[in-house]
């Protein structure tokens, strides 16, 4: 993933000019990797292909001989043995012992070529990592599954990384811990954190900008109607100044401040922050979604916080005796000296 740093300043945006796109970012659309390509397999007869398909559809769970027999009653035991042997020989299928029962599992067609030149350990580790898909796997879990000792495992992982067969990814959820997955997989959103993360860093600046811009949009809607507000009833007017997440998304997309393809869900998350800021209200619509509108708070800042004591960090230590006291308090002195009316 390329680096996306919001090199844009907050002022620039709030000026309202449609600023050029500065944030560079490739879309984070999670790539769904099909674990097993469904390409026709040459050199196998129809029956063998049938069986292979069955195995592939079961993925890593594996299929026992009984199941094959059930699915394809036309194949006799002899046929099944012949087919499995053929598939094993072609490297398409592996045989595993699961709790005393033999099961067959289809192998990734790409695997055969990729692991060429690797030793058994590497193969095992590779398989384990591959099974984890794009959610990745902790090194500890690899060790438990592979039964390799730490130093050996480290070596194997390093070697696989060197061959660009697997990669390590930092997870958003758990700080410094590394997750391993196949080299060309796009990490799952739960690991990257989606639109709000770049290289595992939470883009709080980006969130703040979106927060401001969403509010700006809603306030703008209100201001645009301000002159004509009494042409409508208050309820109609309220509907007119409201916007759905979809509309806000459209505005944000057109603003071009984000090259990330934001989804409606992402905007909802941002609108939710505004809701908790107390700056907007939401109304439940008939279709179960919300519409949002900017609102005024019920009170202006109260008198308490307009004088220094209301925001004083040491109020708990302040009394008529002792070091911190109102008679000599610097905060009060500064505030009283200020020419301007603060009220």
């Amino acid at each position: 993933m390329s680096k996306r740093k919001a090199s844009i300043s907050v002022e620039e945006l709030t000026n309202g000019d449609e600023s050029p796109t500065i944030i560079k970012q490739e879309p984070v659309t999670p790539v769904k990797q099909e674990p097993f390509a469904k390409a026709p397999i040459v050199g196998l007869n129809e029956d063998a292909e049938k069986v292979l398909n069955l195995l592939q559809s079961h993925g890593t769970a594996g299929v026992s001989d009984d199941v094959i027999a059930k699915c394809y009653p036309e194949l006799g035991p002899q046929d099944r043995v012949a087919i499995i042997n053929k598939l094993v020989a072609a490297g398409k299928v592996g045989i595993f012992n699961q709790k005393g029962v033999l099961v067959y599992k289809a192998k990734d067609p790409a695997e055969g070529t990729q692991i060429k030149g690797s030793n058994v350990e590497e193969k095992t580790v590779f398989t384990i990592v591959k099974e984890a898909g794009n959610k990745g796997i902790w090194i500890r879990d690899i060790r438990l599954k592979s039964n390799l000792i730490q130093t050996q495992l480290n070596k194997v992982l390093k070697s696989l990384e060197g061959k660009k067969m697997i990669k390590a990814v930092n997870s958003v959820a758990a700080g410094k811990k590394k997750l391993y997955m196949l080299y060309d997989l796009e990490p799952d959103r739960s690991i990257t954190g989606g639109a709000w993360y770049s290289d595992q860093d939470f883009e709080s600046e980006f969130v703040d900008i979106l927060n401001q811009q969403c509010l700006r949009f809603l306030v703008m809607k209100k201001e645009q109607l301000a002159d004509k507000i009494y042409d409508y009833g208050p309820l109609e007017a309220q509907t007119l100044v409201s916007a759905t997440a979809q509309e806000v998304l459209k505005f944000i997309s057109e603003l071009g401040i984000s090259k990330v393809n934001l989804a409606e869900e992402d905007i909802k998350v941002i609108l939710e922050t505004l809701f908790y800021d107390g700056k907007i209200e939401k109304t439940l619509l008939a279709d179960g979604t919300y519409s949002y509108r900017a609102v005024e708070m019920l009170l202006p800042p109260p008198g308490f916080v307009k004088m220094p004591c209301g925001v004083c960090p040491v109020i708990r230590k302040c009394s008529s005796v002792g070091l911190v006291k109102p008679k000599t308090c610097e905060y009060l002195t500064d505030w009283l000296k200020k020419e301007s009316e603060i009220f």
Partner: protein
């Protein structure tokens, strides 16, 4: 409670001077008998008695019999002391609603603590005469105003003394708090004109301020201005009408009003000859206000054509906003977001907070712990019993939540402290500049006497010009602006306090009703 004690003493000193404040300070530790107060203060008995009379007649202290009537103890009423500093606001509302004369009458009551209606009128008349010697005082107008003040319950009648033979007087037990005594406007006029000095028939029926009534006005103001701020002036007007209609059918300090028919609101507007935008859109306005998260109104259970005013919810919403502002100013916008998340989710895990607040891990933790440290939020530990979560694993959850009552209580105390701080700073500034202030006062009285001798304004100005040096003048200006700023701060602090106390009032009521 130290903050409250200190503050009370300061207020008492400001309003009534040294002795009553010293007595108040003694009583703030708990009820005391007269000999105990005397020995603690080492003051002559007469002085102590005088001071106690001041406190009691102003309603900031009371007495009760102990030891089966053998002794009397005196009790300070701290909450009442605090309302003293609210009096300027009371006066302003009264002037606003009922005019200048009513304000003068109330002022007279404040000055004396308790007073009879005739005396009230006579004193105000004398004052008007002195202020404006040329004009004849309209006693009948004052009379009407005074009666109106009683009628509107701004004044409350003190119970008559039935028996004062024992140690403690026994008061008549009467429900007639607002019953007018026998009054005679003619007699009063005669006294005002100096034609008679006979004792007026109502001389022993005395009245004091009905604080609750004034507070009700202030509360209405707060609610109306909140609605005006959130919606518009029309909505504010509607709120005003709703409150008026509420009081016609519900006692004013109920949490929820009785249903108010919408047709009645319309009638009120018609009667007031208002056929404007509001009239045309009443239904829509009601809907909008009802749907708002502030929950001032709700449709009544009696059907869609009735509306109820939910005073308790309104006060809660206003208090929420107040606390939000305080958190935002003290800690920042993001802590406010976190504070609001926790409050609306009731119980909330750290992880959940981060997710909704969209604040980086570390920052979110920092803010949450800051709020915790400053007691704006609380932490509860919940452990799930081992049985349900598998053997040996005893999972512990840490949940944040907001204990609103506790937060309100804490902020109230901080307001007390801030108020006390502002007052002691004012005292300090006054004594620092005592010499200058004294000089200014002397010059002023000199100017006044010159004026009385018939000197013209300009001459006086010239003569006095040089009495103060330029640096002195600037200093004086500064001192004055400092005083102004501090008094304004005190007034505004009281606004904050008032809202928080309203909140407590309705919470307390709720507890009472439940039990």
């Amino acid at each position: 409670m130290t903050e409250l004690r200190n503050l009370c003493v300061k207020i008492l000193k400001e309003f009534f001077g040294d002795v009553p404040s010293q007595i108040g300070s003694e009583l703030s530790w708990g009820p005391k008998t007269l000999p105990l107060i005397k020995s603690a203060l080492k003051l002559p008995l007469a002085k102590v008695k005088e001071g106690l009379v001041v406190l009691i007649s102003n309603g900031v202290a009371k007495f009760e019999a102990i030891k089966e009537g053998l002794a009397v103890q005196y009790i300070l009423l701290p909450e009442r002391v605090l309302t003293l500093s609210r009096i300027p606001r009371y006066l302003a509302t009264i002037e606003n609603k009922l005019g200048y004369e009513s304000k003068l009458l109330i002022e007279e009551v404040v000055k004396h603590g308790t007073i009879s209606i005739s005396q009230m009128i006579i004193k105000v008349a004398a004052r008007c005469q002195a202020e404006n010697p040329e004009e004849e005082v309209k006693v009948s107008k004052l009379y009407d105003d005074a009666v109106k003040l009683v009628f509107k319950e701004y004044l409350i009648r003190m119970p008559a003394v039935e028996d004062c033979s024992g140690n403690v007087p026994i008061f008549a037990n009467t429900e007639e708090n607002f019953k007018l005594p026998e009054l005679n406007a003619k007699n009063i006029r005669a006294v005002v004109k100096g034609e008679s000095s006979a004792k007026l028939p109502d001389h022993n029926v005395v009245w004091r301020l009905n604080h609750r009534r004034f507070d009700q006005d202030l509360r209405d103001e707060v609610m109306i201005s909140a609605i005006t701020k959130r919606f518009d002036a029309y909505a504010g007007k509607l709120m005003e009408i709703l409150l008026k209609l509420m009081y016609e059918r519900t006692s004013p300090w109920q949490s929820v009003s009785n249903p108010i028919p919408i047709t009645l609101i319309k009638d009120t507007l018609v009667k007031a000859r208002v056929k404007n935008y509001l009239y045309a859109n009443i239904q829509q306005y009601l809907k909008v206000m009802e749907n708002d998260s502030s929950r001032f109104l709700s449709t009544s259970i009696e059907g869609p054509n009735n509306i109820t005013v939910n005073v308790k919810h309104a006060v809660e919403s206003i208090t929420h906003t107040l606390l939000d502002h305080i958190v935002a100013h003290r800690f920042g916008d993001k802590p406010r977001r976190i504070f609001r998340i926790i409050r609306s989710k009731k119980y909330c895990e750290q992880e959940q907070i981060q997710k909704i607040a969209m604040v980086p891990d570390k920052e979110a933790k920092k803010y949450t712990y800051k709020l915790l440290e400053e007691n704006f939020i609380q932490l509860t530990q919940l452990s799930r019993p081992a049985a349900t979560s598998g053997p040996g694993i005893n999972k512990v959850f840490y949940l944040f939540h907001v204990n609103l009552d506790a937060v309100v209580q804490m902020v109230i105390h901080q307001c007390y402290q801030a108020l006390g701080n502002a007052m002691s700073r004012r005292d300090h500034e006054r004594s620092e500049n005592a010499r200058l202030i004294e000089k200014k006062n002397r010059i002023d009285s000199f100017a006044k006497s010159l004026k009385e001798q018939g000197q013209s304004e300009n001459e006086i100005k010239e003569m006095l010009e040089d009495l103060m040096t330029p640096p002195e003048k600037t200093l004086l200006e500064n001192v004055n602006s400092v005083f102004e700023k501090l008094s304004l701060a005190e007034e505004q602090l009281d606004d904050t306090l008032f809202i928080l106390q309203l909140f407590q009032h309705f919470q307390r009521d709720a507890i009472k009703n439940e039990s």
